[in-house]
Symmetry: C2
């Protein structure tokens, strides 16, 4: 087998990680031939021969010796242009850009088919945990019931500081930013978008169905307050930001991202700090749990490298489940039991509980606990973006499972 | 793609599980055409059409419509005859017989190559946890440092009853047998052989090196006593039966199966009851943890079925790491820190500590804690099979890691 010559787009945290890991491995049979960066002037933390760097994408696209594009840039639009251009030229691509992939997956699958090439993106969901490839290859019978987990390391780090170390939310967020776990603009992480994009990617490999991220209810931890944290503590629970896709029966499934009360004994209760953890539940094997570093330069680089070596053996996702005769259909017609903290006047008119089980009013804040349909939450999504409102899910209520 | 016609050998716990799971799945594209059993007269817990059952292996081997052999019989010798015969005929095989595979792996790899066919056995190690396929496909760069875990559900169940529920060992063993977690002759599980065979299989997919099980130190929990349990409790630890393969440096690795003191905070501390848990450690991704049901009819059947559907896509293990230029070499020249409980006169002369850090003598028993080489333990292995002796490892001492 011949060595792979990589054209690398992006030389930030993950890109330099890939460079370092490739230098340390002896048996990978891949090397970086060219690195395309936005600015040649920028100072780099790693020494690379200057003739490897370029700011012209064509130096990679038109180099016939390059047989694999690895794309690890942050900008989703630029990522989309590069990845789709590479696929159109029949070049296989490894990418970690979850936002880009989640938004364009149907087109990217079609491009792979039309140009007989491959796009691998295991690094895009849960960093070093091999979730996508396992869903695609291993859990590929239709007895899969649920994939549920903590998919965003930044928000999990913040919540860990709050619940395990007694820090307040603002302090924890600032620390996450200092440590590089959260972006300078942390809304991607703490508003749940990062988890949402990962969940959309997981769903196509779990159930063979693409759901547009715009159609999924995603709610983060941006508005969590001491009031909510106290409520959770009184119930003996931690609040975690949880993404889940769940089969309701043979024909229907739902998916959403929402903070959740997690009690001790649950697998994800112990997923702390910047770690990710995913529970895969099936009819026969009950629950399986995978746990590992979800973010960071080297874990992500190592995951990218697993995709690179997979390309060395011509691996591609077959999207087998998309061709299943009977695929379940996405529905938001499902009742959740949630806690909503609000002020007397701040709960939007449309947010109607079908049943209220608890309600509390005080000068410091009010909350209502009860049953509400996911469709109702979705319909009022923009109105719920209010610092006076925080929503947290009681798990499993709709399935009557533990 | 055409449906797979399966010739099934064995219709015990796992075989009937496979039959049930296949009946429940809608998209598997595989069906059982023939089942070969030892006795046609035996009463079955599942109704199958009587013309499917046979007691003549040739009814499967000479049926040209059969394109996959699934072998789930207990007897390792019979399993070897069936699997090697099928491979010689060019028939792909899925097997879960860890003893047979661990003992004959080099020959079975050669048979796959010579007859251009495949043998899959993910069910043979850790039941429903996809360890082998992940080591083969995902962790396939040489930055893998260690695979360590609880691989035997029966002994783990027994130790859980002892440490979490305060039962005594004999009571726990009896309960495991009643529940079907332990064989009527439990020595396979509690003497560490089951873990050993799984570890040998894991090692070839982790590091690309085959080690004969006869060359590996494997010590189980058969002689554990209340004295040892008390000692562990005083140290705030549980005793778990742990299998591990560890790279010592770029050129050398070691592997062994031994009871180990496990303290809270370690991933495997919380692996209780009949569950299995595996930690995979690499240079870049740090630690990953996989957890799930390691035994039982349906989890094992589900794992077998994942191999069956992999065959639907012509998947085979490539044993990529066996062709790496630089593979590490197995050594037992490594110092462990162990606890040995003994009587004054029962410690064999050859069992010489290089350093003693603790020693205790009483009428109820003695113990010595100190450093000893793995080679010394191996050389005295048979003498250590004595109800008056119990050995337990202090983890990580030799690597100076946590």
């Amino acid at each position: 087998m011949k060595d792979l010559n990589i054209g690398l787009f992006g030389f930030g945290t993950v890109g330099t990680g890939i460079y370092k890991v490739l230098e340390r491995t002896r048996n990978t049979h891949a090397s970086i031939r060219r690195i395309c960066v936005r600015s040649l002037a920028k100072k780099r933390s790693v020494d690379v021969p200057s003739d490897i760097l370029t700011d012209n994408p064509d130096d990679i696209f038109s180099d016939t010796a390059i047989d694999l594009v690895v794309e690890v840039i942050d900008d989703a639009e630029a990522s989309y242009r590069i990845v789709s251009e590479a696929l159109r030229r029949g070049l296989p691509v490894v990418s970690g850009n979850k936002a880009m992939i989640a938004r364009h997956l149907p087109e990217l699958i079609e491009l792979q088919r039309r140009h007989n090439t491959a796009l691998l993106y295991d690094a895009s969901a849960c960093g070093s945990i091999p979730v996508i490839r396992n869903l695609e290859e291993y859990y590929d019978n239709d007895l899969l019931l649920e994939v549920k987990g903590i998919l965003n390391g930044s928000s999990n780090y913040i919540l860990s500081r709050v619940f395990d170390h007694g820090e307040d939310y603002a302090e924890a967020l600032a620390k996450a930013q200092r440590l590089g776990f959260a972006e300078a603009d942390p809304s991607f992480d703490i508003k749940g978008f990062d988890s949402l994009f990962k969940l959309v990617i997981i769903t196509i490999h779990a159930l063979g169905v693409y759901v547009n991220p715009a159609d999924v209810f995603a709610y983060g931890i941006a508005s969590i307050s001491d009031f909510d944290i106290r409520y959770a503590r009184e119930k003996g629970a931690k609040i975690k930001l949880v993404a889940q896709v769940v089969k309701l029966d043979d024909d229907r499934f739902t998916l959403f991202v929402m903070p959740e009360f997690v009690v001790p004994g649950k697998y994800i209760y112990s997923v702390d700090d910047e770690y990710n953890g995913v529970v895969i539940r099936g009819e026969c094997y009950d629950r399986q749990f995978m746990f590992g570093k979800g973010a960071g330069s080297l874990p992500t680089a190592s995951s990218i490298l697993s995709d690179v070596t997979a390309r060395h053996h011509d691996y591609r996702y077959e999207y087998k489940k998309m061709s299943y005769d009977q695929r379940p259909v996405y529905t938001d017609d499902v009742t959740l039991r949630v806690y909503i903290r609000h002020r007397e006047q701040t709960l939007p008119d449309g947010v109607v509980f079908t049943k209220i089980t608890e309600s509390y009013v005080s000068e410091n804040g009010c909350y209502t606990v009860g049953d509400i349909s996911l469709a109702t939450l979705r319909a009022n999504r923009t109105l719920l973006d209010n610092p006076d409102i925080f929503i947290c899910n009681f798990p499993r209520f709709f399935l009557d499972l533990d």
